[in-house]
């Protein structure tokens, strides 16, 4: 229920990753953290200090890092590559495609500073195409957790399966609102609020804003079902179908291009099973720019008020 989700504290999701991989490395000597000169940004410091033998510095050479990771799996290692989301995906797409995805290697591609909320560094670093690129690769899992606690659990869940995966998280301090002891399962969406008028499906930072939007809409007696779709691939089709059969309209919210994102995956499921009106809260075929995270979300139509408007529009189209 909406009132169950309160801000525990504000923490960056990348720090959730840092804690998660530290604990994983402690538990499993085959877990190896690789970085391309961004160990501090990816919060690897504690792991590096205590387990230097499980840390590999690759320098500013991401293409090589992806290949090194693929090769390490052949020796039974579980490599986690760490860098910014842009350099983790678009810069090295062919390396991921051939040496990791097509080769079926157990590499965990971990990406921070994704989306607009990277902020002041601007469009060169604000990758908004990564979910699309990664979900198109056969066999690639794509996971976008919503807050610090969930990112830590998602990181630890990376070793629960064999095969390549993309884990996307971010830079800014952000509301941390899911419980530490939550059940987290890759591929299993979280129903965060039950509602009857519209389904609102979000991932990453947009989940908190979607809960905020649902609270505002509740004041106007609009009942919104909120789903945290932390796994874009494989997507939880059952969760989508069950909800849209009840509400008959859907809004998706993501910090990503509309083309290729979460919304597109949800639309595919809806079209094949139960077509409904859908609105997309996403970046509309443009690059980002410098600014503060919340300013950027406002400018690019990803704020709480944008979500509220999208829900009303979706309902009006039923």
């Amino acid at each position: 229920m909406l009132e169950d989700y309160k801000v525990i504290n504000e923490k960056d999701t990348r720090s959730g990753f840092g804690e998660g991989i530290y604990e994983l490395a402690k538990e499993n000597k085959n877990v190896i953290a690789l970085t391309a000169d961004l160990s501090g940004s990816l919060k690897l410091n504690k792991l590096m200090d205590e387990m230097p033998e499980q840390y590999v510095q690759c320098g500013i050479a991401e293409a090589n890092m992806m290949g090194v990771a693929a090769g390490m799996t052949i020796g039974g290692k579980i490599p986690f590559t760490t860098t910014f989301a842009n350099f983790a995906t678009s810069r090295v797409y062919d390396q991921i495609r051939q040496s990791i995805a097509y080769s079926g290697k157990n590499v965990k591609i971990c990406a921070s500073h994704a989306g607009l909320t990277l902020g002041e560094d601007g469009a060169t670093h604000q990758v908004l195409e990564d979910i699309g690129m990664m979900k198109m690769l056969p066999g690639m899992r794509v996971v976008v957790p919503c807050d610090f606690n969930q990112t830590k659990l998602a990181t630890k869940a990376m070793v629960s399966f064999e095969g390549p995966a993309y884990l996307r998280f971010g830079r800014p301090k952000w509301p941390n609102f899911t419980p530490e002891d939550q059940t987290f399962e890759i591929g299993k969406a979280q129903l965060m609020n039950e509602g009857t008028d519209a389904t609102l499906i979000a991932c990453g930072h947009m989940v908190w804003l979607s809960l905020e939007a649902a609270r505002e809409l509740a004041k106007e007696n609009i009942s919104v079902e909120v789903i945290n779709m932390h796994t874009i691939k494989p997507i939880d089709e059952e969760a989508i179908i069950t909800s849209i059969k009840k509400t008959n309209c859907v809004v998706t919210a993501e910090e990503h291009q509309m083309n290729g994102g979460l919304g597109e995956s949800v639309a595919q499921v809806a079209q094949r099973n139960h077509p409904v009106a859908q609105e997309f809260v996403a970046v509309q075929d443009s690059f980002g720019e410098s600014g503060k995270p919340l300013e950027l979300l406002e400018k690019y139509g990803l704020s709480t008020s944008s979500i509220v408007a999208a829900v009303k529009k979706a309902i009006s189209r039923k």
């Binding site: 320098g59 090589n64 090769g71 052949i74 097509y102």
Partner: protein, 305 residues
Amino acid sequence: MVGIPSHLGDGIFFSPLPLGSIYNTTIMEKLQEIASQVRRDIVRMVHGVQSGHPGGSLGCTDFLVALYFETMNHNAENFTMEGHGEDVFYLSNGHISPVFYSVLSRAGYFPIDELSTFRKLNTRLQGHPTTHEGLPGVRIASGSLGQGLSVACGSAMAKKMNDDASIVYTLHGDGELQEGQNWEALMFAAHHKLDNVISTIDFNGQQIDGSTDDVMSMGDIKAKWETFGWQMFEMNGNDMADVVKVLGEAKAATGNGKPIGILMKTEMGAGVDFMEGTHKWHGIAPNDDQLADALGQLSETLGDY
């Protein structure tokens, strides 16, 4: 597994002969016989599907035969992806798959008859090698150039982490070195002292659009690799005795803190006179007459598939 006596050509597990015997005429003759059969396999495979890359395959035949039948410790019968305790090989220039497939099958990784399926629908012998079809002997997909050295570095690093003293071998085209990722990997290997890597460059001076000097000259490749921190050897890749000798020297040089490179001079199309000395046969197949001409130059030593 190391220490099992070598049974050249008739065993499943191959281990190198003791130093001193590498000039043994009988062994050299046996390797030459295998190489002749592999060259027949290459031209027949490419002719059979009218597609594939014979030139580089023929040029690298002696190297791959020496590697798989003499130099490496490897277990063909019980292939495992991990290859713990075994020497492993990565083919970075995946388009010379015909020679790779022929050598793997002749070494016992999969049935020789399967060579007839090369590049055909539902085959495990894809145009470029892949792990996707579960073909024993292949540990990584290659084809998009410039990626193999990075993979080999990761594999070599994992071996060190696992206290596995075996060696990682690779093969690269010379034109392939135009891909920047190679130079990232060269830095990485030297920085991390991956002295269990032996990388060979097929230095045939040819690429699709012409000679490497005309297309994108690379200058002194050996000097460049040395500057990047590698210990370099040179060998004549179409002289079996030299290949076996230099591979032995390279192997002896492992464990000294530096990755090892071998600049291997080859003739594209080696062994088939009309395919030699040109980049024309990089990626085209012989017709029936050309096949007959080529096979007339190559003895059927081990039986065609």
